[in-house]
Amino acid sequence: MKKSAPDQPNIERRRLLGGLGAASVALAGAGLCPMHARAASTAEVTRAPGSANTHQRQAFLGLHQSGIVTPRPAAGMIVAFDVLASDREDLERLLRTLDERIRFLMQGGPVPEVDPKLPPLDSGILGPVVTPDNLTITVSVGESLFDDRFGLAAIKPRQLQRMTGFPNDALEADCCHGDLCLQFCANTPDTNIHALRDIVKNLPDLLAIRWKQEGSVPVQDPPPGQPAESARNFLGFRDGSANPDSTDQQAMDRIVWVQPGSGEPAWASQGSYQAVRIIRNFVERWDRTPLQEQEAIFGRRKASGAPMAGGHETDVPDYASDPKGKVTPLDAHIRLANPRTAESQRNLILRRPFNYSNGVRKNGQLDMGLLFIAYQADLEQGFIAVQKRLDGEPLEEYIKPIGGGYFFVLPGITDAKDYLGRSLLAAASL
C-alpha cells in the first residue's frame, strides 16, 4: 500500500505535470490567469462551477465523530459494506487504513503522484489538490460484524440488532444491512463520490460495497432577518422542525451520545446508534393529493412549516389544549412521532436526513424519497419506539421503506496517534 503523506513539490513532479498535457494545464489554469483569451471563451460552457466553500473543513478529532451534530451540508451519502477481513488482524488493518484515508480526505491536500505507467492513486475528480469541502466521514458498524468472525460478540452494543421490517415495509435484501457503514457529507456530491472512490481503491481486499444511497437537501437562504429554517423533503414539507438542538451539549449527551455507565460496553461510550432507512415516496400520488389533506397528514402547514395552529416553524404545537385532535389530527405524522407527553420525552432522536432521487421505476413513476438518518443513545427508546407509534399512519399511503439498517457509530478519537475503532478491538482482546 502506498503511503499517502503529502510530498513536497519537486522538480520531477513538475516535469510530470508538464507531461500530462494541455488538458491538465487548462484544468490547473482554470480560475487562475488564462493563457489565451480565445481558449478561455470556448471553455466557458464547460467551466467548473465556482464555489467559495471548497476550502471549508471539519475537524476529524474529537470526543465524538463528526457528521452527527455537525451542521448538515447539502450533499450526503450512505454506503454500506461487507467486511472481507478474515481475522482480527485484518480488521485492524482495515480500521487503520480507513482512519488514515478519512483524515486525509477531511483535511484535503495535494495528491501524491506516481509514475504515469501506473494507475493514478486518486480519481482526480477534485483535481490534483483535494479540497475538503466540509467533508465528514462517519464510521459505524452493523450487528453482523459482531458474529463469530472477529470474536467481538461479547462486546456488541446492547441494542445493536438487525433491522426487521415494520408493517408498511417492503425491504429489499439488496439495500439492507451491512457489516460497516460510512456516512459521507459535504457541500457537493462530488466530494462525497471522490471520498468513496478513494476508500474503495485503498481497501479492495477488505471492503466490498453492499449498497449505497446518495442524497441532497435543497439549498435555501432564509428570508432576510429570519432565522434559518429546516430543509424540505421531496413531499415539499420541512423536515426536522422538531429536532433537538444539536448545539445543546446537555441535550446531546442525553439524547444522542451513549454515556458511560448506561449499560453499554465501555468502549461504546460517546458512540451513538444510527438508524438508516431508505423510504421511497410516491411523489406522483402525493402531488395529486389536496393540500388540506397533505397538511392534515403531516400535522403542519406546508408553506411555513408551522404547526396547524399557525405561527412559526419552531413553535411547539399545543396538544394539551387539543385532546380530540381538532387542530392537529391525532394520527398526524408529527403528533404520532412526538406526542409531547412526559413519557414521549424519552423517545427523542436527532434526525439528519437527505432526499434521494434515483431514477424511474418499471411503471414509469419516479424513484425518489427520503434517505432517513437518525441518531440516538438508545435505539429501542429512540427510532424503534417512534416508528412503532407511526405504524398505520395515513402517510403510509405515500411512502414505502425499502432499505437501510441499524448501525453503531464508533466513538471519536481525541489523540492524533489513535485510530478510529481501536478501542473496539482493544475491548475484544480483554
Binding site: 417492503a170 395529486r288 389536496p290 389533506e293 418499471k362 414509469g364 413513476q365
Partner: protein
C-alpha cells in the same frame, strides 16, 4: 316616496341569494348505492373464493388456475374499501416484495402466495392452509365491511385511489408476476373507478360538465385498448401479449384520470 319604495323593492330583489350549493344530503343516495355495490362484490368474492380454494384443496390444479384471475376481479373492483382494513388487505393481497424473506416468508399469504404455487411451482401441494386462511380472511372482510359506515370522502376518493393502483402496478404488469393475469385486475380497477364516477355524475356535472366529458373520454380510451385483449370466454390475454405501443398508449389516459379524479373530493366539497 315612490323612489324609496322602489329602491327598497329593488334592494329586496337583489338581496335574494343565487343558487344554493349542493346539500350534503345529496350524497346519501350515491354513498349507499356504493355500499350496496361493494357488499354485492364482496358477496360474489366470497362465493368465488369458496370455489377457487375448494379446487386448490382437492388438488385440481387446472381448475384452480382457471378460477384464479376471475375470482380476484371482485376484490380489485372495491380495493379502496378493502384497504381500509390494512391487516386484511395485507393478508389477502400482499405481494412477495412486501415481505423480507420474499416467497419464503411465513406471513406471505393470500392470493399471490397461491398464485406463486399455482403458476410458478405448478402445484397445489401444501397450499391447503393458505387456501383456508384466504377464505376465512375474505369472509372476515365481508363482515367488517358490513358493519362499516362508509365515510363519504373515502368513497369519492376511491376513484382516484383505484387509478393510482393502476398507474403504480397494473400498467407495468407488476401485480400478477407469476400468472401474468394483470389485465383482469386492470379492468377491474378501472370499472371500480368508473362506478364511483357514475354514482356521483349528477352532482359533478352540476359543477363541471366539461370535466365529466373529459373523464368519460379517457375511460373510453382505456376500455378500448383493453378490449383488444379480451378472450372469447370473457377473460383477458396474459400481460406479455400487450404490445409496447398499447402499453404506452395506456399510460397517458391512466395518469390523466388519476390527476382528474384526484379533484373529485374537492369538487364535491369533501375533505
Amino acid at each position: 316616496m315612490k323612489r324609496s319604495f322602489l329602491a327598497v323593492a329593488l334592494g329586496l330583489a337583489l338581496a335574494t341569494p343565487a343558487f344554493a350549493a349542493n346539500s350534503p344530503l345529496d350524497l346519501v343516495g350515491p354513498i349507499s348505492d356504493y355500499k350496496i355495490y361493494v357488499t354485492d362484490n364482496l358477496a360474489k368474492l366470497t362465493e368465488q373464493t369458496q370455489a377457487f380454494t375448494a379446487a386448490v384443496k382437492r388438488g385440481d390444479l387446472a381448475t384452480a388456475r382457471k378460477l384464479y384471475a376471475p375470482t380476484r376481479v371482485s376484490y380489485e373492483q372495491v380495493e379502496p374499501i378493502a384497504e381500509l382494513f390494512s391487516d386484511l388487505d395485507a393478508a389477502i393481497d400482499s405481494r412477495e416484495d412486501d415481505h423480507e424473506q420474499g416467497v419464503k416468508s411465513e406471513d406471505f399469504t393470500g392470493f399471490h402466495r397461491l398464485e406463486y404455487a399455482l403458476f410458478t411451482q405448478n402445484t397445489t401441494e401444501g397450499q391447503g392452509p393458505v387456501a383456508d386462511k384466504l377464505l376465512a380472511d375474505v369472509k372476515d372482510l365481508q363482515a367488517r365491511v358490513d358493519g362499516l359506515t362508509f365515510p363519504p370522502e373515502k368513497v369519492v376518493g376511491g376513484a382516484a385511489a383505484l387509478m393510482e393502483e393502476v398507474a403504480a402496478t397494473k400498467v407495468s404488469g407488476e401485480e400478477e408476476r407469476y400468472s401474468h393475469t394483470d389485465l383482469y385486475d386492470f379492468q377491474a380497477n378501472v370499472d371500480g373507478a368508473k362506478k364511483i364516477v357514475d354514482l356521483f355524475r349528477p352532482q359533478i356535472e352540476k359543477q363541471d360538465q366539461a370535466f365529466v366529458a373529459k373523464v368519460d373520454k379517457n375511460f373510453a380510451t382505456v376500455d378500448k385498448i383493453l378490449a383488444k385483449y379480451k378472450t372469447k370466454d370473457g377473460g383477458f390475454e396474459t400481460y406479455d401479449k400487450v404490445s409496447e405501443r398499447d402499453r404506452k398508449a395506456l399510460v397517458g389516459p391512466v395518469n390523466t384520470l388519476a390527476e382528474d379524479l384526484s379533484t373529485l373530493r374537492g369538487k364535491l366539497g369533501l375533505n
